[in-house]
Symmetry: C2
Subunit: 379 residues, 2 copies
């Protein structure tokens, strides 16, 4: 096990009928005016928008709305929200949505008092030094962003999908009410499962040794995601499955699943970011379902014992990679680049985008040519 | 799964050569003068005292020492430290030791600016409203106090061993360096394992249903404690076993093991507190090794399925209670009140002390007569 520092100051408010509590949490912190950031479509249909609006009204908290954040969120939308946040002098950001909304909100929270270009945080030109408080209401369990300091955004002009991480943008309070996810389309549940499983696997397969406790925690998260995804595809309104699924996705990337791991590998994530940068229609989870097994295949000799353990613990089969791919197919996730709509000619473009991030990885340091081989396996 | 709020603002600094970092953490927070609270015996022998003293000196942080905190810490010692903390106007408390030292330090941190009797926090007369910052260096992994807001202290005059819990006394930074535990006597490792396993079991067996994810996390913690305790009894200097053991005890009671459980049962803990209140020579872990299996036996019909699952997952045997007791014997923990030195006549006294806390429990509400029956099973 490696040395680590764990610090996660987000207050997680979890369970039924918790959305309406947002007013009291904001009031307790003396917030008077929020930037309400959201996608806008689903929360108006499933009643979340109305509940939040009423809670804010009842706590006398003013809101300025910026709606229309899309999956694979883009820099231009962040800048639009940032302008509103500055002009309206909001005290805090309230993000209501999934990973895209919350990740965009983190950039806004960090950018309000920063004089330069908010992209500087992503490009690594500067580090986040402060942020206004961020509150979130999660409507799609997947990325774990509700309880960490990570943000991923695409710069549409450069086709760069980059991330930053800062202690300053951990949400102050995150509300996770599994019931609001009853109406999610099945493919979003599937993509969420793949995303969260991939987060855990980035640590689990990073080559760190003697992580017995966290291996068990990680296997527990993955097993629960496998079990609850299957239940939810049958019955999307099974509360207990939604709740266990949601908590699994949060714990998959709030620091616990990687304790003692020195940060994880993250090559699969970096390569996937090239996929959704090139084609924003590719959901992050769907991209990971294709890339992660290909990466595992490419590095399998370095982690052969762990792959057997993984396969046996999660699927009861020794061949961990095939078992994982078989399960992805079973739940309707794509497993090849072709299924995502990419052509063989796209591999060059993907390699070029991904190579901005090379060398990448911890288990095996990947260069441009390694990325090409992984994408060829994935094709 | 039940609704819950998780909020744990402690920064956990974990691993080799971390003790000496205390100076920089205090300095970053602009602390100038600390109350250095410790037991005093072992830390002078194992080099921890010297490392801490040097780190403080190098960061120009003044220290005022109060040594001599004993296992099953007592109110009089807390009051002594409190007087020094007030007189010397310290900015923070630095607790260096195990659960007794850190629990005492929490009372001091909360008591410094409180005008009344610090026992009021334990008796429930008042709630903690503020505290000066607390920093800890853990030298004995067992109670989990390094990453929670709980404090247990004995009032020697009334023989009450009571607790309080407050968000204000979560340590700001806790340093856990597994190497400093190489020289622990085997029975302290055993007691620590039993204590931490009992913490997890207080949630696991509290009757909450549909906690699939946290059941797996809890089983992972217990399995790791079982595995690493056995290794450490053979080789107390096995770093990886010490590290996995230490992290398991922290996660056993930092809120994660009880997510969705509405607080756990805690009857076994309450009954054990009577044991060590009557006889302060009884280590908390040793007392729990006796009481918990007796409580499980008393309530077994309410949790029969869970007991089978527990037995199979942890020990590969269906009868969870006997398997647990057999393992406690194997590692040298006591399993009867008699082995702890109690006589049959003591049962009345124990029942009287424990009955101050009745009704207790969540799975089954226990009254005075229930406690007597459990103690008779334990005898």
């Amino acid at each position: 096990m490696n040395n680590f520092v764990f610090y996660n100051p987000t207050k997680l408010v979890f369970g039924k009928n918790t959305v309406e509590k947002i007013g009291e949490y904001l009031k307790k912190d003396k917030i008077k005016k929020v930037l309400f950031l959201a996608g806008g479509g689903s929360i108006k249909k499933n009643g979340v928008y109305e509940k939040v609006a009423r809670a804010l009204f009842e706590s006398s908290i003013e809101k300025v709305e910026v709606l229309g954040v899309r999956p694979n969120p883009v820099l231009s939308k962040v800048k639009e929200a940032l302008e509103v946040a500055r002009r309206e002098k909001v005290d805090a950001i309230l993000a209501v949505g999934g990973g895209s909304v919350i990740d965009s909100a983190k950039a806004v929270a960090a950018g309000v008092n920063y004089d330069g270009d908010v992209w500087d945080f992503y490009s690594g030109k500067t580090r986040v030094k402060e942020a206004i408080p961020l509150y979130t209401i999660l409507t799609l369990s997947a990325t774990g962003t509700e309880m960490n300091g990570n943000s991923v955004v695409t710069n549409e002009e450069t086709l760069e999908k980059f991330s930053f991480s800062s202690i300053h943008v951990y949400p102050k309070v995150s509300i996770v009410d599994p019931e609001v996810q009853y109406t999610l389309p099945p493919n979003q549940t599937v993509n969420g499962a793949v995303d969260a499983i991939s987060h855990v696997m980035e640590y689990y397969f990073d080559g760190t040794r003697n992580t017995q406790l966290i291996d068990r925690v990680d296997e527990g998260i993955i097993k629960t995601l496998v079990e609850t995804t299957e239940i939810l595809l049958e019955n999307p309104k099974d509360y207990e499955a939604r709740a266990n699924f949601a908590l699994s996705t949060t714990l998959a990337l709030n620091g616990i699943s990687g304790m003692g791991h020195s940060g994880g590998d993250w090559s699969s994530h970096a390569i996937e970011h090239a996929l959704s940068a090139l084609n924003p229609e590719v959901a992050h989870g769907a991209g990971l379902a294709v890339v992660f097994p290909a990466w595992l295949t490419y590095v399998k000799d370095l982690i052969s014992d762990k792959l057997v353990r993984f396969g046996m613990e999660i699927f009861g089969r020794e061949d961990g990679i095939s078992a994982l791919k078989r399960w992805y197919k079973k739940i309707g996730a794509p497993t090849t680049l072709r299924e995502l709509g990419f052509e063989r000619e796209d591999i060059d473009k993907l390699v070029n985008i991904a190579s901005k991030m090379t060398p990448m990885g911890r288990l095996k340091k990947l260069m441009k040519e390694d990325v090409r081989k992984i994408l060829e396996i994935a094709f």
